[in-house]
């Protein structure tokens, strides 16, 4: 009796719930995708359509000439050329930062997660604070030091600068990962007579690889996104994408189309990496914050 009354009731509430879920799902999809699509549309619209009033959301014709300009421009004063150079700088800096910080950070994270030594707790706290430290507390003397040593606007000094906050980040996230890995394999290897360093290299690292991939991707994205130091320390030769984009935005005659091209191309690498390695990234992000 009750069962017969309950069933249609439950299915109706289930159906209602489904409808609500769909409505919010569609709103969410539009909210996430529409701004990105608009930026893409802006990047291929003709200037006269962009400044038209009333603005038409669906342009009658589009052009990919700005993208062509980025890849073909040979004049050093063109936005396209500047942007292409900045893209190359960002890529070089991010790759070196990722590789170096992974090697240096992983070793330290292993020690923090596995070994007992004096001052471990204090050092870990210092490392975390270094990561949290506002760059403003360093930037003025750093600028003067870099300036007097002739290190401004060069790529490798930027790599070293980025290492100063990305290594602490890697140590913090990785020691969380490493702490959750079982010690039994390492113990077995040591009983079998492996040295500590052999154990680290041949037993521990292979197990820890997913964590290293996750952290490495986050390090790459952090480096790609960095703006403050790059704004202050670079002018031309080592200028990265975020600074180039900020410059396009600051010009008197703002070229919305070119800004959008820069935005789309500047996002392409981080967005593709994120979508491809989504699982790793989620793992890395939550390991840094939530310890299990």
């Amino acid at each position: 009796m009750t069962e017969r009354r309950l069933k249609p009731h439950m299915s109706r509430s289930k159906r209602n719930q489904r409808i609500v879920e769909y409505i919010f799902g569609v709103i969410l999809a539009i909210g996430v995708l529409a701004p990105v699509l608009w930026m893409f549309l802006t990047s291929i619209m003709y200037p006269k359509d962009l400044t038209a009033k009333p603005l038409s959301l669906i342009p009658s014709s589009v052009t990919f000439s700005r993208y062509a300009e980025v890849f073909s421009s040979t004049s050093a004063s063109d936005s396209g050329y500047i942007f292409r150079a900045a893209m190359k700088n960002s890529l070089i800096i991010a790759v070196f930062v990722t590789l170096l910080s992974l090697v240096i950070g992983t070793l330290a994270a292993y020690a923090f997660a596995r070994l007992r030594f004096r001052g471990r707790g204090v050092l870990m706290l210092l490392i975390l604070f270094t990561y949290m430290l506002p760059p403003a507390a360093l930037v003025i003397p750093l600028y003067r030091i870099y300036n007097s040593l002739g290190l401004l606007d060069k790529k490798w000094p930027m790599v070293i600068l980025y290492l100063s906050f990305i290594i602490p980040f890697i140590i913090w996230v990785m020691q969380g990962f490493f702490g959750s890995i079982s010690k039994s394999y390492e113990e077995a290897a040591q009983i079998d007579g492996a040295t500590r360093f052999q154990t680290l290299l041949y037993i521990f690292f292979p197990i820890a690889r997913p964590g290293a991939i996750a952290t490495g991707i986050l390090a790459f994205l952090m480096s790609w996104d960095e703006f403050f130091y790059s704004l202050i320390f670079t002018t031309q030769n080592a200028k990265t994408i975020p600074v180039a984009i900020a410059e396009f935005n600051g010009k008197f005659t703002i070229d919305y189309g070119m800004i959008s091209v820069a935005g789309i191309l500047g996002s392409l690498i981080p967005v593709l990496i994120t979508l491809i390695f989504q699982k790793y990234i989620v793992m890395g992000m939550t390991a840094g914050g939530v310890k299990e």
Binding site: V32, K53, L57, L138, P141, N249, S267, V271
Partner: protein, 294 residues
Amino acid sequence: MKLQKSEGRYAAALISPALIVVFGIIVAPILATLVYSVVNNNMLSSQYGQFMGLHFYIKALTSGDFWPDLGRTLYYTIFSTVIETFGGLLIALLLNEKFPGVKFLRGIIIIPWAIPTVVNGSLWKLIFNGEYGVLNAILTKLHLFATYQSWLGDPKTAMNVVIAADAWKMTPLAVIFFLAALQGFDRATYEAAMVDGASVFRRFFSLTLPNLKPTILIIVVMRTVEKFKAFDIFYLMTRGGPADATKTLMYDTYLEAFTNLNYSDAATYAYLIALIVALLTLLYVNIMKRGDEE
């Protein structure tokens, strides 16, 4: 005893490369900044080079822009953190359900987070543009506004526009944290509660929310630290304007240092910010520790 000593040496060998690189870069500048905050380093000051004691700290705390800056920083920090945490929780609850298309939504939700901060700023500047912006076009077409609004040019709306832009990019981070936490929950408890006839709301408030408490705390503290230090999005969207409406502590520090060349005032601000960040970091660590014990 001997083993422990050699373990200490092994640890030192593994850690020292990191310490040399990190502290090699930051120790001298952080001390120099401290010196700047007590010895006059304002490039255009007649007292350049003089020891000033706590002068710059007293100046910052009693006059000038510090408190209004802090007020704007707190407004930005609190509102964007609340929006992102609350919005992130709602979206995560939706994405935790099973309905056709949810996998697609879970896949795309991370896109805004992946877009570089500067691109995000320029994207929303484009949308909110007072003259040609698409938002104005839509709002007037829908007859919600009769005329185009200068969203970023109006001191009353500029900060909220920045908050909206930031929320679009960073809410997905909260979603990811909440989703990870929700998916770790024990399904059996929920099913038992459902069989017992507990309503959706009842289940949420007596089961989900208490379970999410550690995640909420971590998101709030972590995001608060980041918001407090936010610079990029302000540089890109408003440069502290209009009429100082979006001038935060970090932005003012930048202006003092690199526009006014008042290195001492900037250093003092930087130390005050670092102090607040240090306190928040300690809070964060304590929350993590408590989470571990639970």
